[in-house]
């Protein structure tokens, strides 16, 4: 049968990568010297499944490598081998190698054969140092049939309980017939009279003469399932023997034996019974299906809003039933929207789980001691946000360990514990999530930062508030580490970190206490698909301003608005001079209010800078479903997306960052 196995590859890769994560986190949990057998079992099972799948789906390098891991783990779980730091390190590195092999197999790229071979050699060396089975090749090596035509005499006398194992002697005899020509004689001497015979017992025996081009192993193979439940003799004879009573029909073709003895493998008596993995019913669904579901629910919300708007014009008394139905629809749509959005939510653990390993490896490399404390790993965040926040977080954690945490002797001298603590915290705050990366290291050095900034030609006042100074670390090309390490690089990155977070609609804040450590706080929207917006009108148009960027809105007095030659107008808001940006002019609209004192100013803030957007009116505040403008039309400067309003009209969502950047450059004026 021709079956294309590639259809299962995706699933195989997914579960294998998950298996590697399981192995990794379990390995990190292993207590050297007092290893929990349940944890070893978990690791073993992951390696074992991976090997089976890899061999089945033809990823033989993965299968071969995981076979070594499995052998080592098997020795551990059977107690033949003590769990040492060396072995755990070796296994952790092996996890990385397997991950590399799987990635290469998935992307059809070349694997890093050098590191694979090196680790393979190390594993084999390690296996040699303990009682072990030969690491056999994993392959479906079929039993090769011997060529010479042999005459076998076989006596097959099953034990009485044969049927109770689900086996059928006739099936076995038929199977034997596929090897060659045979004559079968039934021996029913043991059959008692029917009054005493138990219908569930087997009382029969068979004598078989087989002429076949096969080896003893092939014959034994046929009886493999029943050899322990029967008296079996297989003798090689040359001469032709007794008469046939039952003539079995030899099949024309000689199919490959169904039961194949694979490569020799290690025995393991212990079983994996009660795995603690919190099994809960779940199904694997493609993200595109969920995205389309979210999209459809978005459409439903819009339709519902349209209906509500139409119904508002109707007489509530005359249309009471309709109104009740509509308000029910409203409630149900909202719950449905929430439920659908929650499908995309993943716990922060998804990202956090990589850090214990990272800290362990890095601290070792740097000669530092550090522990990781994680708080709020179960806090949920939209999958797309989680995926995009992983790299920035990675960078921040590396930075904390590399630049924040001091060497153990320095820490002791400062009266601190020799081991530093890095804390990762996640929590919901209103419609956002707060993620904190903090350490109890040396903290930021204000004087050093200012000196460095001046050296780099960045204007900074000596009296600037701390918050402003700390933000300097996000300036491009800024690094205060005395020597560049391969851990957190050369200062490139922190600016990228900030950019990435801002691209997600998030903000970064820093607090730092000299000698006591620093904390980086990231605030992110829970999802990228829905936005809390303030709708404002300009002439006939409605725009949505992301609510998290709105500082305040006000109606200015005429005397607070000033014109500056060549730079347009500014407005004074409580002593602060801000550029005044009429939205009407930004988007070249034909209508709308032109005098600031008649309109409304919405103060928007981005990257610490503010501008005052001039609009006609504030319309309201609402959650909007974000639709990409780029995928439906094209990119427009100053616009980040679009949404559909209750009345069916399209409203554009303002790109606050861009509007501020384009208009606030001369803020000092």
């Amino acid at each position: 049968m021709e079956i294309d196995f590639s259809r299962f590859h995706q699933t195989f890769f997914e579960e294998s990568f998950e298996g590697l994560d399981v192995m990794e986190s379990a390995l990190l949990k292993l207590d050297i010297g007092n290893a929990d057998s349940e944890i070893i079992n978990t690791i073993f099972r992951a390696a074992h499944s991976m090997k089976g799948g890899a061999a089945t789906f033809g990823f033989l390098d993965v299968a071969g490598f995981t076979h070594l891991l499995e052998t080592l783990l098997d020795q551990m779980r059977s107690g033949q081998r003590a769990v040492t730091q060396h072995d755990v390190d070796l296994l952790l590195r092996s996890v990385d190698v397997v991950r590399g092999l799987l990635t290469a197999a998935r992307d059809s790229t070349a694997a890093d054969t050098q590191s694979v071979e090196q680790l393979r050699a190390e594993l084999e060396q390690t296996l040699l140092s303990a009682p072990s089975d030969k690491p056999a090749a994993v392959s479906a090596a079929p039993v090769v049939a011997a060529k010479a035509s042999n005459h076998w005499h076989i006596r097959f006398a099953p034990h009485r309980n044969l049927f109770r194992g689900g086996n059928d002697p006739l099936r076995i005899i038929r199977e034997l017939g596929t090897l060659g020509e045979m004559q079968v004689t039934l021996d029913d001497q043991a059959l008692p009279s029917f009054e005493v015979a138990d219908a569930e017992d087997c009382y029969l025996a068979w004598n078989i003469e087989l002429h076949a081009e096969c080896s003893r192993a092939s014959v034994l193979e046929v009886f493999a399932w029943v050899e322990d439940e029967s008296d079996l003799t297989i003798e090689l004879v040359q001469e032709k023997a007794a008469a046939a009573v039952v003539e079995a029909k030899p099949e024309v073709t000689k199919p490959q034996l169904a039961v194949i003895q694979g490569g020799r493998e290690n025995a393991a008596p212990a079983d994996a019974h009660k795995a603690s993995s919190g099994e809960s019913g779940s199904i694997r669904v493609g993200t595109e299906k969920i995205d389309s579901l979210i999209n459809l629910v978005g459409e439903l919300v819009i339709t519902q809003a349209m209906l509500a708007q139409q119904a508002a014009a109707l007489d509530p008394v005359l249309h009471e039933k309709l109104m009740t139905g509509l308000s029910q629809l409203d409630r149900n749509t909202r719950s449905m929207q929430e439920a659908v959005m929650s499908i995309r939510m993943l716990p922060m653990d998804f990202v956090f789980s990589r850090f214990p390993r990272l800290i362990r490896d890095l601290a070792g490399k740097l000669g530092k001691q550090a522990r990781l404390v994680m708080v709020g790993e179960s806090t949920e965040l939209d999958k797309s946000v989680i995926e995009k926040i992983a790299d920035p977080l990675n960078h921040l954690v590396r930075n904390s360990l590399d630049h924040g945490i001091e060497m153990p002797d320095v820490r002791l001298a400062a009266g601190k514990d020799s081991s530093g603590t890095i804390t990762l915290k996640a929590a919901h705050r209103g419609g956002s999530i707060m993620i904190e990366v903090s350490d109890d290291g040396r903290g930021l050095d204000r004087a050093k930062l200012i000196a460095k900034a001046k050296e780099r030609g960045i204007t900074v006042s000596d009296n600037a508030p701390d918050g402003e100074i700390w933000q300097l670390i996000f300036a491009p090309g800024f690094s205060t580490a005395e020597k560049v390490t391969d851990i957190s690089g050369r200062g490139v990155g922190m600016d990228v970190v900030k950019k990435n977070i801002q691209a997600l609609g998030g903000q970064v804040d820093i607090t730092s206490v000299d000698g006591r450590g620093m904390t980086i706080m990231i605030r992110l929207p829970l999802t990228l698909a829905i936005l809390d917006g303030m709708s404002v009108s300009v002439g006939e148009e409605i725009f949505i301003v992301p609510l998290n960027a709105v500082a305040e809105s006000l109606q200015p007095r005429a005397e607070d608005v000033k014109s500056i030659a060549g730079q347009g107008r500014v407005v004074r808001v409580r002593g602060e001079i801000l550029p005044l940006v009429p939205l009407r002019e930004v988007f070249h609209l034909g209508s709308g209010i032109t005098e600031p004192q008649k309109g409304i100013l919405v103060l928007i803030e981005s990257e610490g800078r503010k501008v005052a957007l001039m609009v006609d009116e504030l319309v309201g505040q609402q959650q909007v479903v974000i639709k990409s403008l780029e995928s439906n039309y094209r990119r427009i400067s100053g616009i980040s997306g679009a949404t559909i309003l209750g009345d069916g009209r399209v409203a554009l969502i303002l790109d606050v960052g861009e509007l501020v950047r384009a208009n606030a450059c001369d803020q000092a004026a």
Partner: protein, 120 residues
């Protein structure tokens, strides 16, 4: 139609087995561990059960032992799907009541041939 219960905690293996058997004209029900399989087997009588050995919650050997105590499964072929090919492991399966075993990796032809013979 002949209904087969395929039990494996590895989704890809389970899907592969199920797909292969379905392509050969069998009706297949999947279960991700022994516990789930036992519940399914209590609700209907399958013609054959194909179970992995290493599984969380309830392993294949325990599953087989439990199935054999059920009247409906007294003589039903129960096959172990395993990479453990050493005598002790196989004997453990056999003494629990398994009919036989299939050793991973196997190809679809081997699987189908074996299943068809057992069900013949």
């Amino acid at each position: 139609m002949t209904r087969i219960l395929a039990v494996d905690d590895s989704t890809s293996m389970r899907q592969m087995v199920a797909f292969t058997l379905k392509a050969a004209g069998f009706d297949v029900v999947e279960a991700e561990d022994g516990r789930v399989a036992l519940d399914l087997a209590a609700k209907e009588k399958f013609s054959l059960v194909l179970a992995d050995v290493n599984m969380p919650n309830m392993d294949g050997i325990t599953l087989v032992r439990n199935l054999r105590t059920m009247p409906d499964y007294k003589f039903t072929p129960l096959l172990m799907l395993t990479t453990e090919s050493t005598p002790e492991k196989k004997m453990e399966g056999k003494s629990a009541g398994a009919t036989g075993w299939l050793i991973k990796p196997f190809n679809p032809d081997q699987l189908i041939t074996t299943i068809k013979r057992v069900l013949a």
